[in-house]
Assembly symmetry: C2
Homo-oligomer: 136 residues x 2
């Protein structure tokens, strides 16, 4: 299941992408429009800033805004930062690889084989989908 963190993060990004003017939007505004706990959203936006696609400005008139055009923001980055590894098992993860402790041989492991396919298909979706594709 998708975590609420990711769900809220995506909704927040979409909300920012929909803004006409690219002025900073306060957290409180996003939280209200998307029905998200403000404090929770705060931490999510902080996390999202690590993607480099999201900028923020402090003080009066401040808030969050997109640095890049939505069409330049791929879901691979967003999903990895919010949800973590795209792979369902660490032994098929590109960015978070770890050997399975209980698995004697990766090549002959059925779980490995299946999850490799699933990862590849998910990756193709995320790579070919940008924030712009998610707008109404």
């Amino acid at each position: 299941m998708l975590s609420k963190k990711t769900k809220y993060g995506l909704k927040a990004l979409t909300f920012l992408a929909k803004q006409d003017k690219k002025e900073p939007i306060p957290i409180a505004d996003i939280a209200e429009h998307e029905n998200i706990s403000q404090k929770f959203l705060e931490s999510i936006l902080l996390t999202l800033r690590r993607t480099g696609y999201l900028g923020s400005k402090k003080g009066k008139g401040g808030g969050y805004y997109l640095i890049k055009d939505p069409s330049e923001i791929p879901m691979t980055t967003v999903m990895r930062v919010l949800e973590g590894p795209i792979a369902m098992v660490s032994c098929v993860s590109l960015n978070f690889y770890e050997q399975c402790e209980d698995c004697p041989d990766e090549q002959s492991c059925s779980v490995h084989k299946l999850m490799l396919k699933v990862r590849d298909s998910a990756l193709e979706v995320y790579r070919n989908t940008t924030l712009a594709d998610l707008l109404p």
Copy 2:
């Protein structure tokens, strides 16, 4: 992340598929060969029986065995029984659909849009992969 339940279940099915003779294999044997807690595996195999692909026999000489050929066992069924819905959000689930409580309009929801794509791609993998494809 894939649950251990699913991981173990897949390993157990693969182990059964690899057997030359199709005689029942006791849980204890599967558990030992695949390094799985026997009690945990018990409940997993019970769950898997609901797919209709797995048979069991009690008493001496009993155990679990595949009813169908591995090539006739698609991953869609196995994954749904073990891991639950293939969709990452209930509003895009085919078999476990539920409306999101916080979402005013599904059609315009960015999460819905993205997760629909992800579901479709995962579904394609699971539909086109049988237990036979996972054998070494």
